[in-house]
Subunit: 354 residues, 4 copies
C-alpha cells in the first residue's frame, strides 16, 4: 500500500531521494543458499549509471552498492538483504528556482498537492535516481533465476525503429554499442539523432523491448495476478513509461483469430508465438517478449514559462546534466523489473500444488 | 498472492467457474454509509451479459446478482459485502472433446501443467465469465466515487478505428449502439464487419478506450504503485488483453520533449494533456485516458487440428455460442476495473494524511 | 487491511451477518489436487453449531455449507473456493430495544462510532456467527495438512481447571462429552456448573487448549511473522478471546533459564518442551501447544441498565437463546484457526526455498 | 509473507544481523508533514541499548541511528524513510564453538534446518539486536500519534510481582530506576534478585505491562484484524515472548459475565474496564492495557552439554556479556511495537467512512 515495495514472496522495498544522503532498500524473501556474484550486481548498476557514454547525462555518480546484511560467506541466508548506495554527488546546488515553481510534466506540482510540500532537490523521490535500487534488487533476482535469461534492448528512438521481431535480431549486439540497440546500423542512426536532439536542448522518447527465455511453464496467478499483468505493472512503475504490450500487443488487436491462434506442436510448444509466452496469465514455456514505451524526458535545456506556487507565470531555464533520451539507460531497469516479477512468481508457483 | 483478490483498502476477492454452481465474491473495505443503487449494479451487468445483441454470443444467462451481506437499510455497513450470481445455463454438455485436448491459444494446456488437472467445462476458471464479478464490484466502486465519471467505449475493431481524440467525440453516443462506439458511422461499419467475421466462423480483436473525468489531485502511491501502473495491471488482468497505454502512450515515444511537455495554466491545469492526467504516478486533476488492446477470441467455429494430453494430433471442431469480437462486452469490464483502482487509491490517499 | 481476510498464500476472506441472508467466504490459494472430504467439513461445523447439546444456546441453525466453486471431481482445482451457509433462522425479531441502545461489553457502541450506524440484528457482523466460516476454511486447511493433527479441548470453565499438561491427559476423551474436556470427572463438574450459571441468567469464561502434533521443522517467518505470533493473532481474532500463551507461557516468565532451557536429544528432539514446539519463531518438530482465554459471554438473561444513543439511561432485558459459556463450541474454532495458520506457513515454507 | 515487514499503511521493513555490517530498515507510509524530534528517537534507543546499567549486558554499542531519506527540513516528506545503525562492536570473535553446535532453546537448530545454513555470529538474524530497528520505527510512530501516550513498565521479574492494577501505580516512577518498575520498593527487590541471578550465571523471565492512553474510538478492523489481535501478534513477534493478555486477560476467563461486563456511563465511557479499551476488536476510547510474558534468556554463563550438527553430544561454555533478565530493556520495545500497531490502525481507520 505504502507504495515503496514491489513483490510478495520476493519483495523489495526501497528508499532514497535524488540528492539525499543515500538510496537503498531491503530485499526480503530471497531464498537461502544462493551464491551471489557481487560483480554482476555492479555490472548492471554500471549499465544504468550516469556518465557512462556520450549520449547520456554527464553527471558523475559511481553508484557503488554496499550490502549490509543477508549475505554470509558469499551466500544468501534467507533473511532480509539490506543495501545502500551513497549519494556522492550532492552538490550544494542552488535550488531556489525549482523550490517554488512547477516544471511542466514533472511531478513537482502533484507532490506539493499530495504531501503538502516536497524535497525539491533534483526531484527528490520522484527522480529516476531511485531506479538504481531496482537494478540492485533485479540483479539479485537474476541470480536466483539463473536458468532464465533476461535481455532488454532499445528498439526505437523517436521515429527510428527496428521493425523486426526479436527472433530476426542478433540480441548480443545490443551491449556492443552505447545505444543498446541490437542492429549496428540503426544504433548508429539513433546515436547521431540523440546527439542532435541534445544540441537542440531537446529530448526524445523511445521504446525498450525485452525477451525472457527459458521460463518454466506454470508461472502466473489467475485471475487478477496474471503474469503479464504484473509485468505490465512493473514496467509502468518505471519513470517516464507510457505504455506496455506483450506478444502480439496492439497489433494483435487488428488481427483475426484464425491468424492469431498459436498452433501446438506435439511437445506442447507452439508454432507461432503471438501469445508472447503467456496463455491465460500463465507462462507456457515459450519466450516471453514485450515492449515498453518511454516518453521524452521532461527536462529541457531551454528557457520556458511555467507557474510558481502562487500561480504566477515565471520564466525558468533548464540546466544541469540531463539525459536527452532515457532508453539506453532504461535497458537494465526493464530487465531488473522483469527479473523481480519472475522471481516472485517462481516462488509463488511452488505453492500451487502439493 | 493467491491471485483472486484485487485492491488493498477497497478489495474484491472473486470465485466461480464458467459452468460451476455459481460465481461471486467479497468486497472488503467499502466505506460505511454509501447508499447503494442496486439497479445501477444490474445495469452494468446487463451491459456485459451474453445475448444482449446480435453481435455477441447468443448464450442466455440472466446474470442476476444477489447481495448476501454488508448492505443494510440500503447503505453499506463498512463490513464485507458478499454477492453471488447463480449459473443457470449449466447444460449437461458433452465436454469429452475438450477434456483431453488443448485448444490453441486457450489456457487449457497451462492449467493442466500448473495445477495437474483442470475443470474443463467451458474453460472453468479461465473463462471470461469471471469478469461478471468484476462488474459487480466495479459498480459498487463507482457508487463510492460518485463524483468521478468513468466512460469506456470501443475505439477500434480490427482495422476499423476512430483515430480521434476522446475530446473530439460525443462519448454519450457510445451507449446508443450495440458496438458501443461513440461515432455512429464507424459503429455501423464495425457492426457490419463483426457480423461478416462471425459468418466466417472467425473472430477479430479490437481496442477499448476509457476516459475518467473529475479525478481529484493526489491519487497514486509512488514509487511502485503509481496510479497508471495499477490501472495497467487492472486492464492487463482482463481476459484477452495484450496491451495498455495511457496519455500519449506509444505515440508519445516518438515525440520530442518540447512538444510533449504539458504547459501549466495559472490554476494548475495544463494546456495539453499528453500526461494523461497523471504525473509522477499521481493524478493531477486533468482527465485520465487510456487504451486497452484485446486480441481476437481464440474460439473459432471451424475445424482445426491440435494436440491431446498425450501429444497426439487430434481434430477439433469449435462449436457453441461464442463472441466474434469481445470489445462491445468488454466496455463495462474496463470501466469496472478502472473504478476498482480509483476507489482503492481514493481511500489510500485519505488514509495517508494526518 | 480491510480486515475480513486471514492468511497470505492460503487465505480466507469471509462475509455475513448474524441475521443477514447468508454467511460465506472464499478460500484462495488452496493447492490443487487435494481430495476433499465434505463430510469432514460438515462434522467440524456440527461441533460448532448451536443447539448441539444442553449447555449451549438452543437456537436452531443447521449450518449446512454449500461449496460453489474450486472443487471439481472431488478435488481442489487450485482456483478459489467459494462457499456459503444460508441463514435459516432469521426470525422477524423485534430489535427495537437493541437498535438504539448499547449493550455493555458488546460491540454496539464502537460499531456505531466507527461506521456511523450498524446492522443491529443479532449483533450483525460482530456476532460470533461469523466463526462458522472460519470452521469451513479450517476444515479444508486440515485436509491440506493431512499429516498434522490438531486437537483442541476445554481446559477450564470458570474456576474449574484441569491443571494438567496435555501429555498427562487422554485427549481422545474430549469429544466424548458435551463440554469437550478430556477429563471425564472434570467434564462432569464443568457441565453441572455451566447449567447452574445458565439458571442464574449469568455466563462464565473458560480456557481452550490446543495441541498440534506432527508439525514439520521449519515453519515460521522471522522476524515479525514468527509462527507463534501468527497463531496468537489467529486466536485473539476469535470473538471473546482475552489472552494467548504457548509453551511455558506466563508461567515461563517466573522460571530460571537453567530450568527452562530444553536440552537436545541426539536426534534434534528435546527432552523437555517449554519452547512449545517453536524456537526463534520457527517450528522445531516438537508438539506445539497453547492456551486461549475466553471471557464470559456479555449477553446475560437479566435486567440491567445501560445507555441509548443519546446517552440516556435505559433498562434492558437480556433475552433470547445464548450460550452460558462459549468454550465447548469454541473448540473447533480454535482448531480451525490453527489449521489456517499452519496451512499458510506450510505453503510459505515450500515457496521460500529453491 | 517474507517476514521482515510489519504493518500495512504504516509499515516498517527491517534488516540486519547481530554481527553484520549494519542494521536498519525502511519506514513506508509515514504521513507527510510530521515534525521529527530526532533526539526523542535516540532517547528510546538509549533505553534499549546494552550497557546502560548494572543489570543488563555490558556490551558496548552506541546504537546511533542515521536517517538516510524521507525527512526534509525536519519534517517527513510522505516518502519512505530509510535508516541504519552501524554495528561498531563486531569483534573478531572466535565462533567456532557455536558454528557447528546447537545451543538449547536458541534458534540455531531451526535456522539450520529451515535455511540450510546460518550466520552463526552472535545469533545472526535471530538475535534480539534486530529490535533496535523496531525502536527506531516505533519512535517515529509515536511522533505521528502525538496525542496518544504509550507507557510500558516491568510488572514482574521471576516470582517478584507488582500485583497491582496500573491505575494504582505511579507509572512515572518506572523510568527512575534501572529495572523500569513503577514501584520503587519492588524495583529494588527485583534489582537485587537480577544481580543474584547473574552471579549464578543464570537468567530469569519477567513480565512487561503496557498502558496506552488517549486512544481515539474506532481503531480496529474486524473480523480478523481486531486491534488486540494485531497488538498480540506485535508483542509475540518480540524475541523471548511467550504470552499476551489484554484487559481482564487470563483472569477474565475465571469470571462471571455479571461481574465482567463494563457498565456504560452516559458519555459512552465505562465504569470498569475489563474490556481493556477494546470491544469487538475496536478501541472504545478507554485505556488499552496488556501484559507480555518473557521467558528467561537462553544463554547461561555455565557449562552444559548439547549436540553438534552431526548429533554428537558436545560440551559448551556460555560466555560473553548477556542479559540476566530482558524485561528492563524490553520496555521500549513493547512501547515501540504498540506504537507501530496504533499508527497503522489510525491510518486504516481514515478509510472506513467517507
Amino acid at each position: 500500500m505504502a507504495g515503496n515495495s514491489f513483490g510478495n514472496l520476493f519483495k523489495v522495498t526501497t528508499f532514497g531521494e535524488s540528492h539525499g544522503e543515500a538510496l537503498g532498500g531491503v530485499i526480503d524473501g530471497c531464498p537461502a543458499g544462493v551464491e551471489i556474484d557481487l560483480e554482476a550486481v555492479q555490472r548492471d548498476l554500471d549499465r544504468r549509471k550516469p556518465g557512462q557514454s556520450a549520449i547520456v547525462t554527464q553527471r558523475k555518480e559511481p553508484d557503488e552498492v554496499r550490502f549490509l546484511s543477508g549475505i554470509f560467506e558469499g551466500k544468501t541466508t534467507g533473511t532480509s538483504i539490506g543495501f545502500m548506495i551513497e549519494n556522492t554527488n550532492q552538490k550544494s546546488h542552488d535550488y531556489s528556482h525549482i523550490k517554488d515553481s512547477y516544471r511542466p510534466s514533472h511531478a513537482d506540482y502533484v507532490y506539493d498537492q499530495k504531501y503538502g510540500f516536497r524535497d525539491y532537490r533534483g526531484g527528490g523521490r520522484s527522480s529516476a535516481r531511485e531506479t538504481a535500487c531496482r537494478v540492485v534488487a533485479g540483479a539479485i533476482a537474476k541470480q536466483v533465476l539463473k536458468d532464465i535469461q533476461f535481455q532488454a534492448y532499445v528498439s526505437s528512438v523517436g521515429a527510428i525503429e527496428l521493425n523486426k521481431s526479436y527472433e530476426d535480431l542478433h540480441l548480443e549486439v545490443a551491449e556492443t554499442n552505447i545505444v543498446r540497440c541490437p542492429d549496428a546500423q540503426k544504433a548508429s542512426e539513433m546515436e547521431t539523432y540523440i546527439k542532435q536532439i541534445r544540441k537542440e536542448g531537446d529530448t526524445v522518447g523511445g521504446i525498450v523491448s525485452c525477451v525472457i527465455k527459458n521460463v518454466p511453464v506454470g508461472l502466473g496467478e489467475p485471475v487478477f495476478d496474471r503474469l503479464h499483468a504484473e509485468l505490465g505493472k512493473a514496467m509502468l512503475s518505471i519513470n517516464a513509461v507510457k505504455g506496455f504490450e506483450y506478444g502480439s500487443g496492439f497489433k494483435g488487436s487488428k488481427m483475426k483469430g484464425s491468424d492469431h491462434n498459436d498452433k501446438f506442436n506435439t511437445d506442447g510448444t507452439t508454432q507461432t508465438n503471438f501469445s508472447g509466452g503467456i496463455q491465460g496469465g500463465i507462462s507456457n514455456g515459450m519466450d516471453i517478449y514485450f515492449n515498453v514505451a518511454f516518453k521524452p524526458v521532461a527536462t529541457l535545456i531551454q528557457e520556458y514559462e511555467t507557474i510558481d506556487k502562487e500561480g504566477n507565470i515565471v520564466k525558468m531555464q533548464g540546466k544541469g546534466r540531463h539525459d536527452p533520451c532515457v532508453v539506453p539507460r532504461a535497458v537494465p531497469i526493464v530487465e531488473a523489473m522483469a527479473a523481480l516479477v519472475l522471481a516472485d512468481y517462481y516462488l509463488l508457483n511452488r505453492a500451487s500444488k502439493l
